[in-house]
Symmetry: D3
Subunit: 250 residues, 6 copies
Amino acid sequence: MKIGSLISRLEEIAPPDLAEEFDDGRIGLIVKGAPEITKIATALDPTPYVIGRAIEEGAQMLVTHHTLIWEPVNSINEDLAHQLRLLLGGRISLYSMHTNYDNAQGGVNDVLARLIGLEGTECFYGGRAGKVPESTLEAFAAHVSMVLGCAAEYVGGNDTVVKRVALVAGSGFRLALEGARVNNIDVILSSELKHDVIRGRGKVSLVSAPHYYTEAPAMKVLAERLCEVVPAVFIDDPPKIRMVNAIERP
Amino acid sequence: MKIGSLISRLEEIAPPDLAEEFDDGRIGLIVKGAPEITKIATALDPTPYVIGRAIEEGAQMLVTHHTLIWEPVNSINEDLAHQLRLLLGGRISLYSMHTNYDNAQGGVNDVLARLIGLEGTECFYGGRAGKVPESTLEAFAAHVSMVLGCAAEYVGGNDTVVKRVALVAGSGFRLALEGARVNNIDVILSSELKHDVIRGRGKVSLVSAPHYYTEAPAMKVLAERLCEVVPAVFIDDPPKIRMVNAIERP
Amino acid sequence: MKIGSLISRLEEIAPPDLAEEFDDGRIGLIVKGAPEITKIATALDPTPYVIGRAIEEGAQMLVTHHTLIWEPVNSINEDLAHQLRLLLGGRISLYSMHTNYDNAQGGVNDVLARLIGLEGTECFYGGRAGKVPESTLEAFAAHVSMVLGCAAEYVGGNDTVVKRVALVAGSGFRLALEGARVNNIDVILSSELKHDVIRGRGKVSLVSAPHYYTEAPAMKVLAERLCEVVPAVFIDDPPKIRMVNAIERP
Amino acid sequence: MKIGSLISRLEEIAPPDLAEEFDDGRIGLIVKGAPEITKIATALDPTPYVIGRAIEEGAQMLVTHHTLIWEPVNSINEDLAHQLRLLLGGRISLYSMHTNYDNAQGGVNDVLARLIGLEGTECFYGGRAGKVPESTLEAFAAHVSMVLGCAAEYVGGNDTVVKRVALVAGSGFRLALEGARVNNIDVILSSELKHDVIRGRGKVSLVSAPHYYTEAPAMKVLAERLCEVVPAVFIDDPPKIRMVNAIERP
Amino acid sequence: MKIGSLISRLEEIAPPDLAEEFDDGRIGLIVKGAPEITKIATALDPTPYVIGRAIEEGAQMLVTHHTLIWEPVNSINEDLAHQLRLLLGGRISLYSMHTNYDNAQGGVNDVLARLIGLEGTECFYGGRAGKVPESTLEAFAAHVSMVLGCAAEYVGGNDTVVKRVALVAGSGFRLALEGARVNNIDVILSSELKHDVIRGRGKVSLVSAPHYYTEAPAMKVLAERLCEVVPAVFIDDPPKIRMVNAIERP
Amino acid sequence: MKIGSLISRLEEIAPPDLAEEFDDGRIGLIVKGAPEITKIATALDPTPYVIGRAIEEGAQMLVTHHTLIWEPVNSINEDLAHQLRLLLGGRISLYSMHTNYDNAQGGVNDVLARLIGLEGTECFYGGRAGKVPESTLEAFAAHVSMVLGCAAEYVGGNDTVVKRVALVAGSGFRLALEGARVNNIDVILSSELKHDVIRGRGKVSLVSAPHYYTEAPAMKVLAERLCEVVPAVFIDDPPKIRMVNAIERP
């Protein structure tokens, strides 16, 4: 399949004009490789491991959620040189879909909402809001941990009843907080919980899962959807975060 | 003691001109209460609990690391109204020392460095760098967890040898990362570890403790130092962050 | 009456989207007090006298034209602390309508135009323009002085014939001057006449009344209109400006 | 005398590097006429009347406090065309000294301070501060009116004792207010008193004289000083501001 | 004819709202002279020679493509004083049409396109694109040189076939380059060819003629069109650029 | 020789802190290749031809005046991909010295001044000024053409006597013009002469040589100087600009 046709399909899935303004230059075709695509790989980040695996898989295009170069550069540092050597050497294209895929119907936030089991889902401050069966905060956090397959942190009152949930895949607590406060949201689910958000949460409870686990599922779903037009494979590469607690007893 | 004399003492401990430029308007006397100080309270944040306790303790001044109003306001929302009602009603002054106390000799970063046992400490990109006895990354993370009294996350290779440490109290990974990479730092200790920092860490390992536990010790030390001039008490109010892990077996 | 219903009524009178862009954050509910309103007070400025009188009158809401905090603040100076102590202590809401009420139909400029007796009134550079019965400049200035109940300054040629008038409540000479020059306006009526406006007036005459007297009438009218939904009182608090002229003989 | 030598003398009197930054482009030689100067004229503003009189006086240079073009222009409107036709036709130079003359020793503020009889004069927020013999506010305002030869407005408590005075020639209330509040100034003397300054004055009293009368004396003094090097004449052209008060009885 | 009616006609030819945003203040009536127009002159620049000739021709208005004052001024330097003395002394108006005439139908770019013989002309990145009879690059450059009456520089491969041409009157290579690359343009014709454009041209050839010769034809055409309403004359004043080449042999 | 030692030598020749502020990120090591340098190449631009030749020459580092990436990028277009493939594939470093080398003693401007034969050379608005033996403008332009080995354009009066010359390597007419006018410079030598500079030149004559020929000599000299520490070669790659003049007869 021609790269142009494939890009048309990718733009249907994640229309570029859905991207936030700050994503100018950060979405679309970032590096252009061979013109004919017989296999495609998807992943959250273009890490050297991911690029290497994509080439081993025989892919001519890698689609990631996070782009190769966040802040625009005038020079090529060693990490970037390493990634470019792999990409240019392997003649593999890199295509990035970020906030356009976050916001798209069936995109990153919708995949997360489906995993969590949100009902009556609607758009909400860069993410989604909806309802879950009534539960305690502990139970809801345990449910999140289970369906995402990772540990989860949570903050909130002991008597919190969770019913109305807002979620933002990636780092979105601050984005959703003010809206959550005025819309009687019980809990926000997002990543990278910061101290000032905890202090400013008011009556809103917070559940935080690692950034990777809130977004990677949507890249896996993307590979499944692309299989309709070209063989596609999802490459999993979660960061290895370990935890130690010297003060906790079993 | 007159409030003016006390402020002179506070400015010796945390000289205002050490503050970062973005802290303009965020340090110094934020709310002015009674002119005569017989007791002082210190804390990390001016939460309603902290203000209430300070008044119960009979303090006429509360010194916090984080200020009352981060983004300047034209109006008074409900949380701020609640805090102001307590402060103005109790005629208690609020004084804030932020990056000036971070940067000061004997300030927030130095207190953290002392707790960790850093040797040959020097200033380093908004924090401190120094050496610790050679250890594995696991052992170093466990040590951090123990001396700070909290859980710690860490990311790094299995064969990492920790010797040269950079630390930044509060949220400072991004601040220190580039410097750490070019200065052969083995590990950065800070708070609020984000996905993009993990992806861009290169060979630098990362240990993350909750924001509160990296900074609150310095407010406790401040109370001890102020006791020389006026009775002082530290008020502890850590955020209650809980954790659940559905996929881990004992 | 619920505060929410009252605010809906206030937004009908002075729709927020009529406000100039620089008024962002300076209009609407500035401080929130008790939820149930049985009496309302209006005034030009939230001076301590005005707030005190509003509380004495038993009002739960004070509506002013000028807001409490013009430039956003990070700290609470003594004057503001005094005002907030009164407002928060009295549990009285403060609501501000500024350029939205200036621009609204029946708002500040329209009330002034009606007082002056403008006919064929239309919108004009932040104010209103229209016609008055033909008169000399002296006679028109005397008329202004009489209907507003204050002294008036004026600048213009001896043979000026006043017929077409532009007016801007508050400080608006500079705003209206260029438009007045190209639209054959005979005289501008506004406040706070500055030297550079006098020098740049070309053939346009100028009549200046104190800021307070051009805007306060509209706050009085507001109280009258609000009486339809809840008892309302206007609190008058003009600044005491005195005048001395050592060189003028009676 | 060569124009170059005269400019050197003018720059001694009002050194260009004393000008505020916003005066970039607004001071110095604005229009260049004949190279030989046998007579000079000074005035506050380059009005057509002033330019015409200067030419009649046989001057080759006109020195004004306010410049010809405040906001930079791309085109020449009718008023400016009229002034330029006079200047270019008369081959008369225009030289402007603004904030550099305000700030200079013996400049605009110092001339005003001497007229008022300030003692122990020192620089103060764009103007001067000093002491006057103790008096009531009414008496001080009458004194200002008499020595400047114009009406004066004033605002302040009935029991104000005037001793410490701050003055700013031209429009300077806002500039001096905060400093006056923290330095226990009794009264500020300046021009163009605005409503928000009155509301924010705290305990500071305010005396306001028309802009022209606070600055023109310094242009008269300038003519006297220049006579030492070349014949010089001051051209007086005060704006004609009249006053009417329908509510006051004799 | 009244100046107002003439300006209406000029605004039909070059509608002001077609101007680029950076032309704010640089188009329209720049200096206003006599109100009655019996003759008009057009030229590319308001040089002293051009203004002098326009007055000799008895014109009351001069229309130029480049305005009198590019960067807004606070003062009148000697060159500008010279031009203004001529304009104000001759009571001749100056009217400027710049990017509005560039972009207008039948305007600067269209006149150039017609001269070059472009077919199927359409708007293209601040200029026009279209087709010419297939030729070599050398032949196309010679054609440009001949029809414009000036030397031309060109850069491109020896085997370039010219068919699709983009042109921008004045200095427009950078403006058109990116668009030309993605739209398979064979050659860009414009002025003031810079080194970085040559280096970044990819496969696009470049032909450069002096700025004057790409734009002056449109001012000549303007004079012809205006003759329908008032006698009009074009004044030609090309810059005298000479060339020397020590290394070339005949 | 280690790359670090070589860079130290390059920084002696062109100290980074001499660079203009806009060159942030555009000078120094742009792409890092092999750590050991046995041969170095210099050139004006990193064109594919230049990179290819440098690799053929066995160089591990290429030093250019113009950098690889002018505006910072988030993605890699085809031209850049081509250059990076060559650089990364050849493991050759790219080092850029731009305005720091322009301004350095013995740098780009000094090399040009020496070629022209300037005497009493001093720094002058981004370039150099000095004297040449008195000549006509024609003769001076012919001299420039001869010593630089390229055609030259010139603009100026027939009776111009050239004695005081200002020169700016690269594109510097606008930079030097105002200074040249007030310092009685007879002629400016630079590149990329634009129409507005010709119109605003006053009495200053202008000689323009192609950008490449004013700067490339300094890169040749650089190769000669570097030979002292490591074998070095200059790679010449002038743009092929051709000229046609249909209206000139032999």
